[in-house]
């Protein structure tokens, strides 16, 4: 008896000072986290904050470099996912791990079906057990015989949850569970989560949707850049505070913003639509202006940028450049019109890591560097050397392999490669993410120079201080729509943060 009471105060799962480093990246540094039985503890953070690494450590996919995992107060080592499962940890990933050819019951009992004589599978018992589980969560629109492949995603997710339960999971981790769900599915999910709570299951709920966290979680922990920022009782905190914790960095010496004369519109986008993430967006960016595009992860900012840049061309709507209506159906046509895009994922989208600094610098400007298709090598080398000089890229030579440089230097190369084209519109997608302070300041200085030179800049950033410090105007996107616009004077972190989360005063029309 007393044992049980004691354990009620010991968290079911505890992580202390977890460290995990991958080559070149420190994914988690001294992260601590714990969750109690019957509690929903949310894990909040931006892309790259370390949430998925943390989950993978708890589920036994990765092993921490240092730090401890405690289950019921006792140290545990998960060398494989099976170990974690046996300890009662179940994870529901965003990419559902179901087998489409099998039925609901079969997917639930994957790996641990009730056995009958001779060790053969007892199908009837299995079906009965599945029906029981369905009933326990009051799920009436699923039958154990349905083929999973034919189910809509909300139902499939429920099958995954049931699967976790069938393993007697005591700790259930849900990674962005509502990403693909409809409103009603979300409500049903919350209902299930509440029932799980009542049963004493500890739920780790990863999401960046603050309204959901406030609806369902008891506590919330914020991670940023792999580090633990803080934990709060949900009842005792506010959305603004969480946003600040999530995105606010120590305010470093951001380059002071100099006033730059703002000219006429360079880019005018009207009613741009591109499924699924861009829903009728209209805005403009003017000469010399820096427009900051703020929003939470998944709000559709990169998708919008890629539509303007032609990677995923708009399905309807109009784009005008310097007053002239243009059709942008590929990155080549975007570049031809003077648009440049520095992507969010510099390793995959921005740089060819296996190539040299020299070749990366010229990659977007080859047409300008060549005559009749032949690349002018000395001009190319000169451009790269000037670029290295101008952007202070730290490298032993332009022939160095780009992949060996640090993040900040790599970013400078990506930036430099596009600037070589003298673009009229420069779209920057998280330009200073994962970069050291010094490089960050340099990039900001550069942006100021470019703006002064008449370039129109659209900057997507998840760092509020950066957005607030650099922008002449701030646009906020949420779930594929532009929901707010602030000019520099009125853009405060509360106002912008509120718009990002959706609790701003002005009412927007429903879809």
């Amino acid at each position: 008896m007393s044992d049980r009471m004691a354990s009620a105060s010991v968290p079911l799962l505890q992580l202390r000072d977890i460290e995990k480093t991958f080559p070149g990246v420190r994914a988690l540094s001294e992260v601590s986290f714990d969750v109690r039985a019957g509690e929903v503890h949310a894990l909040l953070g931006e892309n790259g904050a370390g949430k998925s690494t943390l989950i993978k450590i708890v589920s036994g996919v990765y092993q921490p470099d240092s730090g401890v995992i405690l289950i019921d107060g006792r140290e545990a080592h998960f060398a494989t996912p099976e170990d974690a499962k046996r300890a009662g940890v179940a994870t529901i990933y965003q990419e559902l791990l179901l087998f489409p050819e099998l039925t609901v019951a079969e997917n639930i009992f994957l790996g641990h079906a009730p056995r009958g004589r001779l060790g053969r599978i007892d199908w009837t018992a299995m079906r009965a057990n599945a029906e029981e589980l369905l009933a326990s969560l009051d799920i009436d629109d699923l039958a154990s015989d349905m083929i999973v492949g034919s189910l809509p995603v909300g139902n499939r997710q429920r099958v995954e949850i049931l699967r976790a339960l069938s393993h007697d999971a005591r700790i259930l981790i849900m990674d962005e569970p509502t990403a693909a769900l409809t409103e009603s599915d979300v409500m049903r999910l919350f209902d299930i989560v509440r029932r799980l709570k009542a049963r004493g299951v500890a739920v780790v709920y990863i999401s960046h949707r603050l309204d959901e966290i406030f609806a369902i979680a008891d506590r919330v922990t914020v991670l940023r850049d792999g580090a633990y920022v803080g934990a709060r009782e949900v009842a005792e905190t506010s959305a603004a505070e969480l946003v600040q914790m999530m995105v606010g960095r120590r305010i470093e010496n951001l380059f002071p913003k100099t006033a730059v004369p703002i000219g006429g519109p360079v880019l005018e986008a009207r009613d741009l639509v591109r499924r699924p993430m861009t829903k009728k967006v209209s805005f403009a960016v003017r000469r010399g202006e820096i427009v900051g595009l703020a929003g939470l992860v998944g709000s559709g900012r990169s998708e919008l940028a890629q539509t303007i840049f032609g990677v995923t061309p708009a399905e309807s709507g109009e784009i005008r450049l310097l007053g002239e209506t243009v059709k942008i159906d590929s990155p080549e046509s975007a570049r031809a019109k003077g648009i440049a895009y520095v992507p969010e994922d510099r390793g995959v989208q921005g740089l060819v890591r296996a190539m040299s600094v020299l070749h990366n610098f010229s990659l977007a400007a080859l047409n300008g560097l060549s005559r009749w298709g032949f690349i002018d090598r000395s001009a190319e080398r000169r451009m790269a050397e000037e670029g290295v000089e101008r952007f202070s890229v730290r490298t032993s030579s332009v022939d160095e392999i780009a992949g060996r440089l640090s993040g900040g230097n790599q970013q400078k190369i990506v930036l430099g490669k596009w600037l070589a084209n003298n673009p009229r519109l420069l779209i920057l997608d998280e330009p200073t993410r994962g970069i050291d302070v010094g490089a960050k300041a340099e990039i900001h200085r550069l942006m100021g120079e470019l703006a002064a030179g008449g370039v129109a800049i659209l900057m997507i950033s998840s760092e509020l201080p950066e957005v607030l410090g650099m922008s002449d105007r701030v646009l906020v996107m949420r779930e594929g729509r532009l929901v707010a616009e602030f000019d520099r004077a009125r853009a405060t972190s509360e106002a912008v943060g509120a718009a990002m989360m959706g609790s701003e005063p002005h009412v927007e029309k429903a879809a």
Partner: protein, 331 residues
């Protein structure tokens, strides 16, 4: 029972009947339908003799397609099977002529085929060399090796009891019996056993498979080994039907086998398909080949028809998969 073991068993039970029934039913309908249409144009097509020749003569392709289907479902490919079958047939025949006990002549191709393929599987799985390169190289080694060792010599005077394929078992000709049994066993195994299901898991969603405890490398080696076994059985059926074994590689055999798998519903991208489908498809292809003759189309067009079939099936499959992915299954 491990997670994967399970997946296997389950699919067999109802998943198969419900979802795959469509592909297999379609093929069965096509086989019958085509026979009727061609029979209408030229009734001699439906003569018992012709149909039985068709079935007997091509059963070995269906058997080889069982193994090939497994390889493709696991996410790989093999183009050396034709050459391997040529080598195994020659091996078997030469052993028989040399007076080695018949049973050994029958068993050796199975063992040899299994070993050669397993070796390729190991190279693919553990050394990470793309299957196409390994099997392309191996195909040449086998083909060239065969010719240089035998000089294309014909093997004649095979002992009477060598001809396994001429025998009947409970009144059913051996080749057909072996084909049906092999297909049935393989189909059941792939559905009901952990290892069999692991093949689908590895080819379909390798990450999920790994998290379910499947070892993709071991699965690939196993798949290739089985493929070699079935190739051996196919070679056996093929060789023991012939009075004279030409020590050459049956031309285009690997393509026919791949076509049978793909038309039978095996997705070339891996993870989907059944061996029952590939057997039916093999029969269909043999039927088409024969039909062309009976409707007076020159037999030289059969390869073009086969090529068009595989191209159309592959494109349709990939386009269908992309549409499904866009609709949001995978992510």
């Amino acid at each position: 029972m491990s997670a994967t073991a399970f997946v296997a068993a389950a699919s067999a039970r109802n998943g198969g009947l419900r979802r795959f029934a469509s592909q297999e039913a379609l093929l069965a309908v096509a086989v019958i339908g085509l026979a009727i249409v061609v029979g209408f144009i030229n009734p001699r097509f439906l003569a018992a003799r012709n149909l039985s020749d068709l079935l007997l003569g091509n059963a070995y392709i269906a058997i080889a397609a069982v193994g090939m289907s497994m390889v493709i479902i696991s996410g790989n490919i093999d183009i050396s099977v034709g050459a391997l079958i040529g080598v195994l047939a020659t091996l078997s025949g030469s052993m028989a002529v040399a007076g080695i006990p018949t049973v050994l002549c029958w068993l050796t191709p199975l063992i040899f085929g299994l070993s050669v393929m397993a070796a390729q599987g190991a190279v693919v799985a553990y050394l990470r060399i793309p299957a196409i390169v390994v099997t392309l190289g191996m195909m040449s080694i086998l083909k060239g090796g065969l010719i240089s060792v035998t000089g294309g010599r014909w093997i004649t005077d095979l002992p009477q009891d060598f001809h396994l394929a001429d025998r009947n078992i409970y009144g059913v000709p051996m080749p057909v019996a072996i084909m049906v049994v092999a297909t049935a066993l393989a189909a059941l195994w792939m559905r009901y056993s952990a290892a069999g299901r692991a093949i689908y898991a590895t080819g379909g969603n390798a990450e999920a498979a790994r998290l379910c405890g499947v070892n993709p490398q071991r699965t690939v080696v196993m798949v290739f080994a089985l493929h070699g076994l079935f190739a051996g059985i196919a070679a056996l059926v093929y060789a023991t039907q012939l009075r004279v074994i030409q020590s050459t590689t049956p031309p285009g055999l690997e393509l026919t086998v791949i076509t049978a798998s793909v038309v039978g519903g095996v997705s070339i991208l891996g993870g989907v398909g059944t061996v029952v489908g590939s057997t039916l498809a093999a029969i269909l292809i043999a039927e088409i080949t024969s039909a062309l003759v009976f409707i007076n189309v020159s037999p030289y067009w059969t390869d073009a028809v086969r090529g068009a079939l595989i191209l159309a099936t592959v494109i349709a499959d990939i386009v269908r998969r992309q549409r499904r992915a866009a609709r949001g299954w995978k992510r």
